[in-house]
Symmetry: C3
Subunit: 682 residues, 3 copies
């Protein structure tokens, strides 16, 4: 069922809205796209009223003409199903399809994504329009693929309509069968929340202190939303598979409360992502919030890659962004748009579409700039995109299908992400540690993957990595711990941080010493612990023969239980001065590390040293910290991507000689990589 992202050439393209522009402009638009080297356009994802201006009356004329004209210019077309924006007639006639806020306010027509996934009526109407579109366009030679809906769970990812409460209840019945089991799983005996009839069970509802639901219910809520989102998308996916078997199916996004891995495995040929690195420059404290700025987008791209080794960027930033009153951002500087395009490719993209061809002159996104300005005259962004088109036309074929190489993976899982949204005793730590590890690995030029542990994860998947960093898996089942144990036995190195292993998959705490399910793996217990906040003074960690580092945010005070454990760092002060803070347990051919705090870059650098991680190009390449290194390779060859995120040039040094795939230039010895410059060395 899976189809490749790109099979003949690297696909470069753009999002296009023929319905927004006078039809007489289309010809010129398509012509210029082709001249710039574009091969693909996306359209249709917000056009339900064009396709079905009244219920049951379908009109394909406008898009028939738009698609055929694109095709005649040699452009492939991706069609979006238009279900992200129901027509006014639909929500007016069937208000039960609307989403409702936690406080009970019904969301109305006027923006987008105001519907719920549970309404049988909405599913019926979505099935109808998808069937019509699939039947009409499945045979069109210009249409190569489909995007289901648009950015599922963007903008809002909670749902409290009556249909949602009912669907949640049904989902719970499937999961727990009996109310007793539900009460047990939700710890309902606490605060007398025990349910005596299914009709008493709802999604979280308003509480005296706002948004303080039962935490186990809150975790199940997110699991339900994810399953419900996938089930909503499946209605369309099944129709597209049945009616349009020759065209591929994807969707775009990476949003909350959605297991994108399950979505992709179950329904899609590959996953797509919308990449806007300039979000990193919006806030005044951006440097603090995201110290890697636009380079930090690579971590999200790594997640996308964990879903689809090769993927599509359905929307690649092509200018300043912003809605009318929010997300307003500076213009990318010359070179940045190109840099970000290659950032996507370096991380695994085989298809990139810019968002969008021409800036909208109306609506909420008039400042979400496309390649063309309102005036439709030549500009810097068009020139930059055309340059990329030209480069990729030359080198694009070589790259497609090649996959990234990494020795280390940052491990995540959905249970902890979802539980950690509510639980501040581990959730914020996870994001902090991911960011700090990513900084350290990037600065050391050690490419990493992200790996989501799921029920179906195999030892083989883990064993591809020498090192796994699993920062704070508060929820850890014994089954997962056993799998990780096998990984270590066969030689893997595994790193945990504080707050590991103390919860079961219901989000209840094990009645065991910390780190709970990871105790045997680590060979230690946690004697005591403390939040480090407020008036509590932080301490630091003294490492054996390495620089001291701060013991951030939370301190587990460790107690060694096994002979195989070596203490690698101790706390420097406070009443637990001298107690173990970092331990290493040798098991089988591998090692398990326990680090008792939230990670910072300095601690990660110490660990990188201890774990023996280094740049895969260390032998032939000297790079300054500000240049990113990524490697894509296939059976034949290996592509070393170098990306300079700074405005100032960076000096690199190549031992021996390499060729830049983009320019064909041969590089030997010292070389100056221009500001925002890119090399793909072979």
């Amino acid at each position: 069922m899976k189809k490749p992202v790109a099979s003949e050439q690297f696909e470069l393209g753009v999002c296009y809205y023929p319905e927004h522009w006078p039809e007489k402009m289309w010809e010129d638009d398509y012509r210029r796209m082709r001249e710039m080297g574009f091969t693909i356009v996306r359209m249709g994802e917000f056009a339900w009223s064009i396709f079905e201006p009244q219920e049951g009356c379908y009109e394909f004329g406008l898009f028939d003409r738009a698609i055929s004209l694109a095709h005649s210019h040699g452009l492939k077309v991706v069609l979006g199903t238009p279900t992200a924006t129901p027509p006014a007639w639909l929500t007016d006639r069937y208000p039960e399809v609307l989403n409702v806020t936690y406080e009970g306010v019904t969301l109305q027509h006027g923006m987008r994504r105001h519907y719920n996934y549970s309404s049988p009526k909405y599913r019926e109407l979505c099935a109808a329009i998808t069937t019509q579109l699939a039947e009409h366009y499945s045979g069109h030679p210009g249409v190569v693929g489909w995007q289901i809906d648009n950015e599922l769970n963007c903008e809002i990812n909670v749902f409290y309509s009556e249909s949602d409460h009912i669907a949640f209840r049904e989902w719970l019945k499937q999961k727990y069968v009996t109310l007793d089991q539900l009460n047990e799983a939700w710890g309902a005996v606490f605060w007398n929340q025990t349910y005596s009839d299914w009709s008493q069970v709802f999604l979280p509802r308003p509480t005296p202190v706002p948004k303080q639901p039962n935490p186990h219910q809150a975790l199940d809520e997110k699991r339900f939303i994810s399953d419900n989102t996938i089930s909503f998308a499946k209605v369309q996916g099944d129709i597209l598979r049945a009616k349009a078997p020759g065209q591929w199916v994807t969707t775009n996004g990476l949003f909350g409360h959605l297991d994108s891995h399950a979505l992709t495995d179950g329904l899609l040929d590959f996953f797509s992502y919308d990449s806007y690195p300039q979000f990193s420059s919006i806030s005044n404290d951006a440097a603090e919030v995201n110290p890697l700025r636009d380079r930090g987008w690579g971590l999200s791209l790594s997640v996308v890659r964990s879903i689809s080794p090769n993927f599509c960027i359905m929307e690649q930033q092509s200018g300043p962004g912003g809605w009318v009153n929010r997300m307003d951002m500076p213009s990318p500087k010359p070179g940045q748009m190109r840099l970000w395009t290659y950032q996507s490719i370096a991380h695994g993209a085989d298809m990139v579409l810019y968002f969008r061809w021409r800036t909208a002159t109306m609506g909420n996104e008039i400042y979400w700039h496309g390649l063309n300005d309102y005036h439709n005259q030549p500009n810097r962004r068009l020139r930059e995109a055309a340059g990329i088109g030209k480069e990729l036309a030359g080198s694009g074929q070589a790259i497609i299908g090649s996959v990234t190489e990494a020795n280390v993976a940052i491990v995540r899982d959905y249970d902890n992400e979802w539980d950690g949204e509510y639980d501040v005793w581990h959730g914020p730590f996870m994001w902090q540690s991911n960011k700090e590890w990513y900084k350290a690995l990037q600065h050391k030029h050690i490419p990493n993957d992200v790996l989501y542990i799921r029920e179906q994860t195999t030892l083989a998947e883990l064993a591809r990595y020498k090192v796994l960093i699993y920062p704070h898996p508060a929820i850890l089942s014994d089954e997962t711990a056993a799998l990780l144990g096998q990984y270590v036995q066969q030689g893997g190195k595994l790193v945990f941080g504080c707050r590991t292993g103390y919860k079961d998959t219901r989000g209840q705490c094990y009645m065991r010493p910390f780190p709970g399910a990871a105790r045997e793996l680590c060979g230690i217990t946690v004697e005591e612990f403390t939040m480090v906040k407020g008036t509590r003074q932080p301490t630091s960690i003294q490492w054996n023969g390495m620089p001291d580092t701060g013991a951030d945010a939370f301190n587990d005070i460790l107690h060694v239980e096994e002979d195989t454990v070596e203490v690698m760092g101790t706390y420097a002060s406070d009443y637990y001065a001298g107690k173990p803070a970092v331990t290493r347990n040798t098991r089988g051919k591998g090692e398990v590390w326990y680090y008792g705090a939230v990670f910072n870059e300095e601690a990660a650098l110490n660990l990188i040293e201890h774990l023996g991680l280094r740049s895969p190009a260390a032998e032939w390449l000297e790079l300054p910290a500000e240049v990113e290194l990524q490697i894509r390779s296939n059976a034949d060859t290996s592509f070393t991507f170098l990306l300079n995120y700074e405005e100032t040039p960076a000096v690199i040094r190549v031992a021996g000689s390499k060729t830049d795939l983009l320019s064909g230039e041969v590089i030997t010895g010292e070389y100056t990589l221009e500001g925002y410059g890119v090399l793909i060395l072979q």
Copy 2:
């Protein structure tokens, strides 16, 4: 229809609430008012329940006595229609008259201004009470004028009751006639918002991301609210004109979502304003928010003057203010109350009423201090007011009817104000630039007007000014651009800032190079632009022979298109270093300036120099920056107001000899103006 603000004498007075006090106090109150030189009182505007204790039962006894007694003391009376506070019986019986929040919460009896303007029932009940009042008091010799309602659109200026949705739909039908035209104007094709039936059209309603309506709908919403407010006021205005033709009609306020110019032109004899300069001292960062502090109130007074060349201050601050839990402010220092009174007069007031006679002992405004304290004993504020009464009794007649003189106007318009509430790509810039220009002009002693460009604005109105500053008119019609072109041709100098001219009156972007409708006027295009925020480092502007200035908040990178254009400043750094930032286009006898950023005081000072603006008293008067200069003049004479906003004395120097209207003192050479002191030189 228009009646003058004051015809015989400067009217000084006070707001009075006879219903709040034992009747036995009235006599003493009126006597003391007269002794202090007061000539006028306002009353009745919150007394509906007194006039109509039950529906249809009218009782005028209390106010008959209060008005007659005032009249017998020689005090004129302004009567407020009491429609700002409907009686409890009214909202209880007719809940459809209540306003509703965006989220759907109905506002209830218990504060004030909780009604909507659209309910036919409320209009009917307002018409009834107004008719009764007008019939009863039109012949009363003590009653000289009427205030319609009180502070229209204060506290809340959005309306979402069912009546409002219906009225909006009707307003749209009038404006657009067909749904197609509505869909076109609102760009409804974007995000599939197209309406197929009028019943689907509403005022903005809750959206998944809160308060993110269609921006064109949001602009029409404000226009509707303004028209609806005026139409609500017109019901009363028409009754008062018909029933009480001998009395003048005004209303007080300067609040959002209301075209006060249209309101005044259509319904009023003159406009009134409530002036509370101490609002400038409430917040700890007041110096940052409003660097001119109380002096900055002059900008609002300039707006009032643009509506009525002479006006009434219906509420002049007479002490510390504050509701029970908000707007709490320090007490004015000795002299400040007097200073602020003359600030109002210097800007055009011919009538000033203090708010209020005696501080309320009950209700939300117990800290909104009147002239009298709760204890009703002599105090500093009463002494200060009596002093003003005495001064004005001498000089008041000379001033009335004289109008302010200015060579420069800051230009505004309602479309941009209303669009800019939502659109952060120009709205905040407008307020910032207005503030910075006002600072520069004030510090240079260059009096300015504010001019609202409206459909009916004529060349003659513009041509009264040598210079027009129109900071960031994002919305600019070709008609307005043409009018401005004529202004320049005849010799005017026009200054634009960044973000000029790119939107049409629907708030949609022109498909033209920036500055859109102003392109020909300016002789330039905008090659590129960027927000300056977040991690983006700001640059500065290098001026020809003048100090560098910061290029704040937004940078337009200019491209000169015409020979008539001279580059007056260039960017100092970043990838657009050396590119034009400031240009001057010579057209006809005039000039058009384009300044590519948001204005700051330093840039305004450079431009003031270039534009040849200077103090009209420069030849005979030396003033320190902290003293304000305003000029009012009539056919015979010119009054130069000097206002010292500092607590410390200011040294001024007069060449030749002038007489202070207030003290009769002759001033020659160096003179020390006391802290908070005032002079009116002739």
Copy 3:
């Protein structure tokens, strides 16, 4: 009716939830409790569904077994009535029992305390379960007392269900009898709020500016809530008195909108409090918010003591706290748990129960750590508690029933607390001044009480204190002023701050010179005043022969009216430089001070000197400022508690020789009190 807190021994114990744990664990739990010296457990307060799994079906089996087993281990049992958490079946069947927010959102099952006190149905169901419990357990020898509900008014203390509006209306009818009197009391003529029918009267409802009700209505709202809470508790209290006369009755809490004095006088044997001093370490600016940190908890304990001279700590912090997503706090350091236990005792506790035996593994409070960790193994907290148990077993009997000694009281009253919640012109000043006075008194080792002035307060109650500090009683009746006058006449010293005495008990302002009802007492009037905020520069006060101090937040400018008044401080600058800021009026044998600003510690220290206050142990004990001194005494002996709140040791010096009750150690001369150390000297 009143029973003592403890009669035979100091009761140390713990909160226990048998329903949360496998029954097989109970035996071990009880055994270990006894080994640690515990004598009492609380249980049952969240177990309604266990007792009544379906409406009208009662089951006592689980708690019968749990209580009997506890009893057989020698543990006394306190039973909570379970009405803080209604069962799911109850709120599902009778939704009228639910509380509703101000905005109209109904609070639902899923957290706790989501019910209202007004619903007749809820009162009926609470009466039924309480009757069942009382009948069942009144004869049980293991059950010694009852806790009504749990933390009344915690989490939410406002109520807007339909039942609440109705109950408020009834309460008002009782209070005012006629609508005219209501209108008068609420100053309804202001802003035309006059009511013409009782059906128009509601609790505060949504207003155009949110939460801006009529202030007199807002004050009555709090009085109503307090009365309504007590009336709700009385239903249970009456049943318990009638059915279980041999067992004591208490409840725990100290929450808003509740007159805990009236509650205790009317219904309880003694009051209980839940003490969590680590709340003081949660926020980063904790040092600013609460400069005394955990030591500041003593002020709350002083309030508890004003309700019950001896009291119970029903929940004493036993580890780090926190819900899943809020109130997360660091772990107490070794010794702090013990320190806080003795803090409670030093302030009057005769019974202390730790919260809780074992940390919950499920629900919102999984991070509200009990003595036992999830793993149920020995830990530091258990060891620390066992040590305390051992100490108190030795010394506990000596202490019980002894009461604290203080020469000075900080005076408060409910009217001002409740009015000051809304009124920022006095409410925030009260809290600030209380905090600053408490700091000064603590640092000078002068124990203080808190005294609530109520209708039934007698001269004898006041006369126990040499000095009364009544910082900012804006509301002050002439009756209270007269009582205070008697206090002064007989030799008392009374200190007022700014904003004293200007409101009557309706919250309306007297038509008298400030300080209104306190004018005669103080012998001064307030000539003028000002908020000190925003751009207003603060001034300072020059004292006669004492250091200058800041004149914070508000400045009353005083005018001396009587010969008996001496000016003790004047303002240093601004237009009121040299005017009186602090005065002392000699009346009878006493003094009345008026301090024209909000207190700070420095001013309080000057006043302490003037008032002749000093440490009661000054003659024999030298203490550093960081050590707290409290004294409890009975007919026979006096216990001097010394508590070191710092981690570092403190050096004290004893003249002569004293014995530490806890260790039996004899202390003479210099002694080093360890970090977090405690002494009870005899």
